[in-house]
């Protein structure tokens, strides 16, 4: 539950950042330059910088597409013909590994560079995943606290039946009580972190 909660917070508090990373490539005549990269679930602008006389095809394959490609079945999520330098907009449906292929259709060795500009946006898939983790954690915590709650209820029933409860007897500390304290401290911590993020 804690992991899920803080994955969510990490993405909510710091997901509004754009960034750029780039790399050079050389592609042999009528061959392919292939590289695998990690992309998040947010809009990207891919800048392909090549000579003006370059002619080729640009492909992007997702994880399943890469698996099919190794079996020689091509199912790209994006296919674009490129003639000279180009800007390509691409938004992955999910974070993960993506294969980028530049296929040369010119008879000479071509060099170029690809820049990936990550635009500012929230990653929705990681928020969905963190919500699932939180729910699984919550369910596990609830299931784990059932025996304690049962014991607590049985103890209270027995005490009531025997009428042995003294007026100054303190409430027995139970698992739900501890969970309440832990939850309150997590909320406090989250608020502090949000405050520091806001200050920064």
């Amino acid at each position: 539950m804690i992991i899920g909660l803080f994955v969510l917070f990490a993405n909510l508090t710091a997901s509004l950042r754009g960034s750029t990373f780039s790399g050079n490539f050389t592609v042999q005549p009528n061959r392919r330059h292939i590289y695998v990269t990690y992309l998040s679930d947010r809009p990207y602008e891919l800048r392909v910088l090549v000579a003006d006389d370059f002619n080729g095809t640009f492909y992007i394959f997702n994880y399943e597409g890469i698996e099919k490609l190794t079996e020689e079945v091509e199912t790209p999520v994006l296919e674009r013909t490129i003639r000279g330098s180009q800007l390509i907009d691409f938004t992955p449906s999910r974070r993960g590994a993506y294969m980028i292929i530049i296929e040369s259709q010119v008879p000479i060795t071509a060099s170029g560079a690809i820049s990936t500009v990550e635009k500012e946006a929230l990653s929705q898939d990681i928020q969905t995943d963190s919500a699932i983790i939180i729910l699984v954690g919550l369910a596990t915590a609830l299931i784990a606290s059932i025996p304690d709650s049962k014991r607590h209820l049985t103890a209270r029933r027995v005490l009531k039946q025997k009428s042995e409860t003294r007026p100054d007897q303190r409430e027995v500390e139970s698992a739900p009580h501890n969970a309440k304290i832990a939850f309150r401290s997590i909320i406090d911590l989250c608020l502090n972190m949000l405050f520091f993020e806001w200050l920064r």
């Binding site: 990490a10 960034s19 990269t37 590994a97």
Partner: protein, 254 residues
């Protein structure tokens, strides 16, 4: 075993392990620009090779956080060790422990293991969560890359061992909770400043980054570099030995 359970319960009285897990998860999952990318030859498009490489890069990224986590880890380890050793010496709780028919070695080991386990499990838990959630489709490859996971756990264990051993030494020799907490954390901070400003690569946290680079390297490392990599583990072992000898033979609890 009984002593270990008691010590773990003692440390779990406070929500520090939960806070640690939260903090490490927050640090590792903060989105950051740039990521791994690797070239694949057209002739060697083999699915198993690609998934293995993805697992490698994911776990290597996770190992990179050993550098970032140094100060938070030091802070929490100082708190745990202070609660487990110096606080109990100061409040004469240690006297109660020592009055039981348990050897000093067992008491020392149970206290050390409980501090080590809490820091190790929370830190490795957040790093493993990062490795599994980074590329969700590839998590099976990560699970089956046992060699890479064991390298990651070894790295975390070495870092935790160094931090715990230094904090234990400080806690035992000072014998006072306030001195132990502030002194050990100040020492960790001083080591970091020294390591970064004087470029002393054998000192943490740069040493941990070098260990990560060594464990997840593509090429062989020079023997001179290996010597500097061993400095932190050797220092941990020496500190632990001295702490154990001091605890078992010299420690006087009034």
């Amino acid at each position: 075993m009984h002593g270990l359970t008691w010590d773990l319960k003692n440390l779990f009285r406070f929500p520090f392990p939960e806070v640690m897990l939260a903090l490490f998860t927050y640090i590792t999952f903060l989105p950051r620009g740039g990521s791994f990318s690797f070239t694949v030859l057209q002739e060697s498009l083999i699915w198993e090779e690609i998934t293995r490489k993805l697992a490698f890069y994911t776990i290597r990224d996770a190992a990179g956080f050993s550098f970032l986590a140094y100060l938070p880890l030091s802070l929490f380890a100082s708190i745990f060790v202070t609660l487990s050793f110096a606080y109990e010496i100061e409040n004469a709780l240690m006297k109660v422990h020592l009055s039981h028919p348990i050897s000093r070695r067992n008491i020392f080991l149970s206290k050390l293991t409980s501090c080590f386990l809490i820091t190790f499990l929370t830190f490795s838990g957040s790093l493993l969560a990062y490795s599994f959630l980074r590329i969700p489709e590839n998590f099976l490859s990560v699970i089956f890359s046992l060699d890479l996971i064991s390298k990651l756990l070894l790295l975390v264990a070495l870092e935790t061992l160094f931090i715990t051993s230094l904090a234990v030494s400080f806690s035992l020799y000072s014998g006072k909770a306030s001195v132990s907490l502030i002194g050990s954390f100040a020492t960790f901070y001083f080591i970091q400043v020294l390591s970064e400003n004087a470029n002393l690569e054998f000192l943490p946290p740069i040493a941990f980054r070098n260990q990560a680079d060594f464990l997840f390297a593509f090429s062989a490392t020079k023997s001179a570099e290996v010597t500097s990599l061993l400095a932190a583990p050797v220092a941990s072992a020496v500190l632990l030995l001295f702490s154990y000898l001091y605890f078992s033979r010299r420690l006087q609890v009034s």
